[in-house]
């Protein structure tokens, strides 16, 4: 006989779990105790939300669910933002929460919250375990649900008495959930229609999103766009699917996208959306586009098809499999003239240039220089706000990853995600791009960064305001209010307090040398770049 917590750990090990991000508390103590006796690595965060973000960064690199584990009540409610972020970005995650004794549920006792109820809108599924004998099945199902179909977070809430219940566990070998059978293969007839449409098209366009990363379909994307001669635009979540300088990559679409990408979207005669929900930020007028052009939507989630975009040909299934099926038809578009025109426009787009002597750093130039200097497979974790837009627009991608939260847009995502990335792939170069606002949302995780002694380089765009809101208030409201970050610490002194070296620059003339100096250091490092608060996301 072993207790429920030990059963939980054994079940996690059977799912291949090697690391848990968490924060202990009273009701999760049996699980933490059982964890200590295993070889599963544990990372202590400084607030529970970031256990979610770390599990997200970890999952995005590992291609399987990240695991976070926190206590009941406030631990669980703090984790909600992490869970919701993973849900909106379709990141596989298994979140485990402690809960008060099952026989006291509903009495509002100390640190009790209905966390499965609270998380219902943004978990793919959730379990409240009321018998330890269910733990092996629940864990197996949770990993299956989180990592198949459209990926997402699954929550397992386990009362402390269930963690302590002594049982003889039976571990299932397989999962059978009658209400959950995601499609894998695309419908052959529909695939054939898509292939024919491509071959007939003169102005085809592939619009790809984060779903292609989830499906590990990068090789298929390259084979399809090159083989069928289709230019590619991406959503923010799809940045990095192709290198920025790939001849068929037109960049990001949307309000903050490249002129060429948006032009292509507005003039295409066959729009193929793959692994993207093409929400409001990416496509501002879906009705207009759908009324004018033929649209194909390839997605693992049938509910995405027709939700934001009406579709001529829908194909549901695993995007990697669908693209493979499509490639086997060897479609080839009549697109040479269209590609030549778009490539010429792409070439003519203004490039970020340094403006030395201005007394502030030009954000576009900073991002450009950073991307150029980072290694070939670097992972850049990008926060939310102006820093995110600048990085998305100007940071050239090679064969690395651009990891941000395009769905929920949670400030403070970047550093915890980067720590998850570093835990997953310790040998890869990892950089964080953030603002002075978002920095102060993850500031407490500098301790985790230090504890891990992780080689993560932080680049802070520092302008003393909540830049994107500041910008919107100037353009659309009566002017800035409540966005001045007065009271912010001396960030260099703060980094020093954590034992993290830093530097501060205030001119484009210093950018190259400062980035070089940062990248040659080993271990964590903070580079603070003073930016004009009036610089906007549209200035280059």
């Amino acid at each position: 006989m072993i207790n429920g917590a030990q059963v939980l750990m054994e079940s996690l090990k059977r799912e291949g779990v090697e690391r848990i991000f968490g924060y202990a508390g009273a009701t999760i103590c049996p699980a933490v105790d059982a964890l200590a006796a295993t070889d599963i690595a544990y990372t202590l965060v400084r607030t529970e939300q970031n256990a979610g973000h770390m599990a997200s960064g970890y999952a995005r690199m590992m291609g399987r669910p990240g695991v976070c584990m926190v206590t009941s009540g406030p631990g669980a409610t703090n984790l909600i933002t992490g869970i919701a972020t993973a849900y909106m970005d379709s990141i596989p995650m298994v979140a485990i929460t402690g809960q008060v004794q099952s026989y006291l549920l509903g009495r509002d006792i100390f640190q009790e919250v209905d966390i499965t109820g609270a998380c219902a809108p943004f978990t793919k599924h959730s379990y409240l375990v009321k018998d330890a004998n269910d733990i092996p099945r629940v864990v197996k199902e949770a990993f299956h649900i989180a990592s198949t179909g459209r990926q997402g977070p699954v929550l397992i809430d386990i009362p402390i008495d269930i963690q302590q219940q002594m049982i003889d566990p039976v571990y299932p070998d397989s999962v059978d959930i009658r209400g959950y059978k995601p499609s894998v293969k695309g419908n052959d007839v529909q695939i054939k229609r898509v292939a024919e449409a491509i071959s007939a098209a003169q102005k085809p366009l592939l619009c790809v999103g984060g779903g292609l990363f989830s499906a590990h379909a990068q090789a298929e994307l390259v084979a399809l766009c090159e083989g069928a001669r289709i230019p590619v635009v991406t959503t923010m979540m799809g940045l990095g699917l192709l290198p920025t300088d790939h001849p068929l990559n037109l960049g990001m679409i949307g309000a903050f996208g490249t002129p060429t990408a948006n032009r292509a979207l507005n003039t295409t005669d066959l729009l193929i959306i793959a692994g993207a929900r093409a929400a409001d930020r990416a496509v501002t007028s879906p009705k207009e586009i759908a009324s004018r052009t033929k649209t194909v939507h390839l997605d693992v989630d049938p509910a995405e098809i027709g939700k934001n975009f009406s579709t001529t040909v829908p194909v549901v299934g695993d995007v990697k499999v669908i693209l493979g099926q499509l490639i086997s038809h060897r479609p080839r578009a009549q697109s040479d003239a269209w590609i030549a025109d778009l490539q010429a426009r792409r070439q003519a787009e203004p490039r970020p240039a340094a403006a030395p002597g201005a007394g502030s750093v030009t954000p576009s130039y900073l991002m450009h220089a950073l991307g150029e200097k980072l290694g070939d497979d670097a992972c850049v974790c990008v926060d939310v706000g102006q820093n995110q837009i600048w990085a998305a627009k100007h940071l050239p991608m090679k064969h690395g990853r651009f990891l941000t939260t395009g769905g929920l847009g949670t400030m403070g995502y970047s550093l915890p995600a980067a720590l998850g990335v570093k835990a997953a792939v310790p040998d890869r170069q990892v950089a964080v791009v953030c603002g002075d606002g978002s920095f102060q949302m993850f500031e407490n995780e500098l301790a985790t960064l230090k504890a891990m002694d992780a080689d993560v380089k932080l680049v802070m765009v520092h302008n003393g305001v909540l830049g994107l809101v500041h910008q919107i208030q100037f353009s659309s409201y009566s002017g800035p209010f409540g966005v001045d970050l007065t009271g912010s610490p001396d960030f260099e002194a703060l980094a020093a307090a954590y034992g993290i070296p830093s530097a501060r620059i205030a001119d484009d003339g210093q950018v190259d040398a400062a980035i070089d100096a940062m990248l040659t250091q080993s271990g964590p490092y903070l580079l603070i770049c003073d930016v004009d608060p009036m610089a906007t996301t549209s200035s280059t």
């Binding site: 599924h125 409240l128 649900i145 959930i177 209400g179 959950y180 509910a303 027709g306």
Partner: protein
């Protein structure tokens, strides 16, 4: 226009919460909802009437299908469904009006479930339209209390979901 959606779900704690929660957060309006266990005690059938444009029903169906506890979802053809609702209504009666109410029950095929010196409690199971009609015909007698179940429905003919 309304449409009737029949949903087979796992008969487990919390399932109804997931379904109603989905309706509220996706901003779908429920006109009526009725739940009961099926011949398989592990499966419940939920009959939901939604106010709809066609797109809404398609999204409702797809979002319901995404719930792990949902086994099957089917939008029923309004022309080919048998939909019934049960109403229990208590009306105030006197010796003078009692016979009129009894006549109405006979015409509508309703039963008298209970009677007291000052009230009659009636029950009728019928299509929602006829239940509405019955209720409106009773209104002049002063209705004290009404309980309606919401519609349950199955498809006509040999087909099943």
């Amino acid at each position: 226009m309304t449409q009737t959606i029949s949903v087979l779900v796992e008969n487990r704690a919390g399932v109804l919460n997931r379904i109603t929660g989905l309706f509220s957060r996706r901003a779908f309006n429920i006109e009526s909802l009725a739940v009961g266990v099926t011949d398989d005690k592990n499966i419940s059938r939920i009959t939901i009437i939604v106010d709809s444009g066609n797109n809404v029903v398609e999204q409702v169906e797809k979002q319901l299908n995404k719930l792990v506890d949902v086994i099957k979802v089917r939008t029923l053809d309004e022309k080919k469904l048998i939909g019934r609702e049960l109403i229990i209504v208590k009306v105030s009666t006197s010796t003078k009006t009692r016979q009129d109410v009894a006549n109405l029950c006979q015409i509508m095929g309703a039963k008298i479930a209970d009677i007291s010196s000052t009230t009659m409690t009636l029950e009728l199971s019928d299509t929602p339209d006829r239940v509405d009609l019955f209720e409106s015909l009773l209104r002049p007698f002063s209705i004290l209390e009404v309980a309606r179940t919401g519609v349950i429905a199955v498809q006509k003919g040999s087909g099943k979901i």
